[in-house]
């Protein structure tokens, strides 16, 4: 009887182990998409250098999924009104939508991450050859830390406000009684005079340097002199789409290629979107043009500055196409939006609160010291 019980326990344990193994095998057999970034996400700084995103679709055996089409949708982090980012209109929106052909299951692109937070990258993988594998989709998280310089700068600003508030409170909290023939206590007059002088000086500096800064930067917004279309002997190419964009909204761009040779070669596209204020790329993608010759993507221009989309058309390494690579480009006028008033008032209230705390501390400290001094 005891032996039977032991046998039962062993059989149950074996069955459980087998089921668990089968379960994990089934799970491992699921195809998936892996994401690697350069630099690693912990080192990414928002609104600076582009981040290289490398997506690799792999089958259940861990091998690359060949002949796949990856549809990407990159969503920005949700809104954070109580501690806004640089671009509040970009929060909670779509940054990029793109469909890429991946012969080896791999897609690479570079994108400047405009703000901190957790981005969502939705990937849908489909076979280019019917029924080669079952389509699947996956959501990936891309967490971008805040620029560390921002913490340092806001700490300095808050410390300055605290000290200024304390100094103001100290002076105001001093002698307040009027002496005969005196209009205002001398310290208060000095404080107000000093504050007014500082304010005037700050505004003068701001206005004068602003004038020279805007005059200096105006000449740098000129787009590169590249045509929007080109008609070659082997390939005709044209870029079209929205030439007006608004921050927070997607803008559609399309490249149309018409090879004049037979069979149609698989042409390569190298797409770069340049911010014309800095002439630095904010988005880069290199891939194969679809068989119908039309490549369409949607991207958001998060910086309210003029941009230019530059597309280089290249012949594939081994094909009947034999032409020099060439470029087409389109200038995009981006309408910037001023931040919501509520967001600005919230941060202003934080800064003001810091100043007021310093002011109250200065007032209280001086009053407390005066109370401790015996009257003559």
């Amino acid at each position: 009887m005891k032996l039977m019980r032991w046998v039962g326990v062993v059989v149950a344990a074996l069955a459980t182990t087998t089921l668990l193994s089968l379960g994990s095998l089934t799970q491992a057999a699921q195809p998936t998409v892996t994401l690697t970034t350069e630099p690693p996400l912990a080192e990414v700084i928002p609104f600076q250098d582009p981040v290289r995103l490398i997506l690799q679709a792999i089958n259940g055996g861990g091998q690359p999924l060949a002949d796949a089409r990856l549809s990407l949708q990159l969503l920005t982090p949700p809104k954070t009104p109580w501690l806004t980012s640089d671009f509040p209109w970009v929060e909670g929106t779509t940054l990029l939508e793109l469909g890429a052909i991946a012969p080896q299951g791999q897609v690479e692109l570079e994108q400047v991450m405009p703000i901190r937070g957790t981005y969502t990258l939705n990937v849908q993988v489909e076979p280019l050859i019917t029924n080669a594998f079952a389509p699947f989709s996956q959501s990936l998280s891309v967490r971008v830390p805040e620029n560390p310089v921002k913490y340092r700068n806001v700490a300095i600003l808050l410390a300055v406000l605290l000290v200024l508030g304390f100094a103001g409170g100290w002076v105001i909290g001093g002698r307040t009684s009027l002496e005969a023939g005196e209009i205002a206590p001398q310290r208060v007059r000095m404080l107000l005079s000093g504050a007014i002088v500082v304010a005037i000086a700050a505004l003068l500096i701001v206005n004068f340097s602003a004038r020279s800064a805007s005059a200096h930067s105006e000449g740098h917004h000129t787009p590169l002199a590249i045509p929007t279309s080109r008609q070659g002997q082997q390939v005709t190419a044209q870029i079209s789409g929205q030439t007006q964009a608004t921050v927070g909204q997607l803008a559609t761009q399309t490249v149309t290629l018409n090879p004049n040779i037979d069979p149609r070669p698989e042409l390569l596209l190298n797409i770069r979107t340049l911010d014309l204020e800095s002439h630095e790329p904010v988005f880069t993608y290199t891939g194969i043009a679809p068989a119908d010759g039309q490549f369409t993507w949607r991207q958001q221009f998060f910086d309210g500055a003029p941009h230019q989309v530059v597309v280089e058309v290249l012949p594939p390494d081994q094909s009947n196409a034999d032409f020099e690579s060439f470029q087409i480009a389109q200038a995009i006028d981006v309408t910037g939006l001023e931040p919501p008033l509520s967001v600005r008032l919230i941060t202003l209230s934080y800064f003001t609160l810091c100043f007021v705390l310093g002011l109250l501390a200065g007032l209280g400290t001086h009053r407390w010291r005066l109370q401790g001094v015996p009257h003559a």
Binding site: I172, L178, V188, A210, A213, F302, L348, F351, F355
Partner: protein, 62 residues
């Protein structure tokens, strides 16, 4: 006997130089300066401090 005008003037001076009014004036001046530097959409102010706005936590630029 103090005239009505002189009395009013003295009361105004006393009120203006009182601690709450002085503190409010100073806070108002501080808020105005902060608004101009970090939150104003006035193009010259925005352009000049564009970089500083982008490098300060909690300050929205666009």
């Amino acid at each position: 006997m103090m005239s009505s005008f002189a009395y009013t003037l003295k009361r105004t001076q006393q009120m203006t130089l009182s601690v709450p009014v002085q503190a409010s004036l100073l806070t108002g001046l501080c808020m105005l300066t902060l608004w101009t530097l970090f939150f104003s959409t006035y193009p010259p102010a925005h352009n000049t401090l564009h970089q500083a706005r982008h490098q300060t936590l909690g300050v929205a630029c666009h």
